[in-house]
Symmetry: C2
């Protein structure tokens, strides 16, 4: 018995039948004596429909008003779920963002939670109500509706769990946990019983789409245990928790890949102070996110500079850099859209040596050429030719023995 | 130049193209220097869709949660309208019920407005914003969402006009004003330039569906001039205003009809004190609304009692009364579903005599039998056979010279 925050994503509440299943699951926990707070997303497809309506008017809807529109999606789900629970005979109260007093900054469309006044929820829990909360939304200090950005319901749930000091925050999705790698590619992939916040953050930023990065950051900051699991089965999923000794036994925990980046290289750039700023400022001004950057010094005061950008921004970035190259006197601009980034992640790296060597040799044995390398304390990423992605995932999964992992 | 509150109904905002037309109309008034507050309903069909979703779960959804669900309809429209206005280059801010501080009692689904704190709207108007407000919704003192019942957006608009001391409240619908009678039945029907609150109240309760009764009551109480007009034309509509001398020149202003009632008669009822209570209490307990009641005393301590109920409740009411008749020793219960009520309305009745005589003789000339009569200070209603409805409307319209009315 304890206080449980559950979050159900769009596919879990896609229609009335699924909302009924969700309600039954909630009731099971409630009947066991737990206090229940349930966060829901918009029904699958609703958010896209709302955006399409706004785009029928304009490509650039007013951000404040777009948030008012978007907030109806979660409002619909939370009301339907409360109606369902009440109809099944369980006392339930729905709260919208402003009613749950989820206070955010006024950055419409990508607001950040500043604080949650959880007293109203606590009072409802004392009355043994099942509290259902509209995810993805909050309000600023003036009472304007704000939304937290795509996937923001994860963040709503974790923030509520932190504010209420919940025992666990269960995130229900359409996958049943976090795997050592993508099971669609590698049949040997194993579900992890637990993964550290740090590893999850790296995995999320490296292409794993299970949890929103900000939700994990929030959980880490307030030490909220997250349980990622499927709403379509009873199986235990994966726990995202604080790092413990046990985790260090394994050098590497997960292999991820990302095919959404492209590579741009400027050759024979005159190597003067301020040159990097000239190359990256115009890209940043266009709102293009640069991921990896590598600079090789050549002889004679010249340097080659390579970086990656999202594939969707590739053409714009190339056009910008061709102008930059002319302005700064670089020799050439080369682009490559057919790349992928494969990464190995694990807190065990901190205490084990030779991880990079194992990774590089494993790739080399298959004649996979490494174009770029980037490392952090707990991950190593290599850019390779896109066509080798699946092969690389297999050999790295094997090389680090992930099919035998037990945690 | 002044302060104008406009209200657009569901058909006026049924799709993006119509919302664009509405925005253009608003801008025309705004550019002329007026302060604009605009109340919108849910897009046509949306409210029914939301009810259907709730009814997929249960026939009796929790009232609080149903209001949370229903409120999304107007929220969607108000956001889209504000997005449209902003995109056209006009500063606009949308407000939901709680943001406009429309405070109601907590009677979910049929809440009544207690007060409106209009300071926020006034401040926005001072900044020359076009304020768009979600109709039909408010919040109770605890911040729970409430709705005002079907057609409640009319009430929202009139209440806001009263709170802001607006110069006029324009109600845009799919008809272009208030007519002396239904133009679909009587080609001679004329649009009224103005009609008094009292007449409008009688007309609304006698079957005219242009304005919600509570909106008219509100307008009367706070003396808000209502302009009923069409969003599909530029033509002037009809003003609903305080009674003036001019109005008394005409004996009768409008002829209405209502085919939605049925008649029930109990014959030879023992005429004892408390007998009426025995007849009507079980009907009231079932939530059935009784409209007209007529009692004829017979000789020998017996009486015949006739009353009307909505046709949709006729079968239930008959079943109840058959039991009642047995219990109180009445002779018989007779029902008739094929009746209609025709009425003439006009504040001029107060100062003119012989209105009833004119009405009865006009019907008699066509051999239309009058089954029941009911009068108020400014209206006379007769129940007749349903098949004579259209004929009765024609002869009454002629008898009171309504095709020549000029007001």
């Amino acid at each position: 018995m304890g206080l449980i925050v559950q979050k159900y994503g769009g596919t879990s509440v896609a229609n009335i039948e699924r909302i009924r299943n969700v309600a039954q699951r909630i009731i099971k926990y409630y009947q066991a004596g737990n206090d229940m707070v349930v966060v829901v997303s918009a029904m699958a497809g609703v958010t896209d429909h709302l955006i399409r309506m706004a785009n029928q008017i304009t490509e650039n809807p007013n951000p404040r008003e777009l948030d008012v529109l978007m907030a109806t999606g979660e409002q619909t789900t939370v009301a339907l779920l409360a109606i369902m629970l009440e109809d099944m005979g369980y006392p339930s109260v729905s709260l919208l963002g402003y009613q749950a007093e989820i206070i955010t900054n006024p950055a419409y469309g990508r607001a950040r939670i500043i604080e949650i006044h959880a007293e109203r929820i606590r009072e409802l829990l004392r009355q043994r109500k099942i509290v259902t909360v509209a995810g993805f939304q909050g309000c600023d200090e003036k009472g304007n509706i704000t939304t937290l950005g795509r996937g923001g319901s994860d963040t709503s749930a974790v923030a509520l769990a932190a504010a209420l000091d919940a025992d666990v925050c269960e995130i229900y999705t359409d996958v049943d946990g976090i795997y050592t790698t993508d099971p669609n590619i590698c049949k040997k992939a194993r579900k992890l019983k637990k993964i550290s916040y740090e590893e999850m953050l790296e995995a999320a930023s490296l292409g794993a789409k299970v949890l929103q990065i900000r939700a994990v950051e929030f959980a880490k900051k307030y030490n909220v245990p997250i349980h990622v699991r499927s709403s379509f089965s009873e199986e235990e999923g994966s726990m995202v928790v604080r790092e413990d000794k046990d985790m260090e036994r394994f050098v590497v925990t997960a292999v991820t890949y990302d095919k959404n980046e492209a590579r741009i290289t400027l050759t024979r750039v005159p190597d003067r102070p301020g040159i990097a700023s000239k190359i990256f400022t115009p890209i940043a001004e266009e709102g293009i996110l640069v991921d990896m950057i590598i600079q090789n010094t050549r002889q004679g005061g010249l340097t080659d500079l390579t970086f990656t950008v999202p594939k969707t921004d590739f053409k714009r970035a190339m056009a910008i850099e061709e102008e930059v190259a002319r302005a700064i006197g670089a020799e050439n601009v080369m682009g490559d859209e057919h790349i992928a980034k494969v990464s190995v992640i694990g807190v065990g790296m901190r205490s084990h040596t030779g991880v990079a060597v194992t990774m590089f040799s494993a790739l080399a044995r298959e004649n996979i050429n490494i174009m770029m390398i980037s490392t952090s304390e707990i991950k190593i990423s290599c850019v390779i030719e896109e066509k080798y992605t699946e092969l690389a995932v297999h050999v790295l999964h094997d090389a680090f023995g992930l099919e035998r992992i037990s945690r």
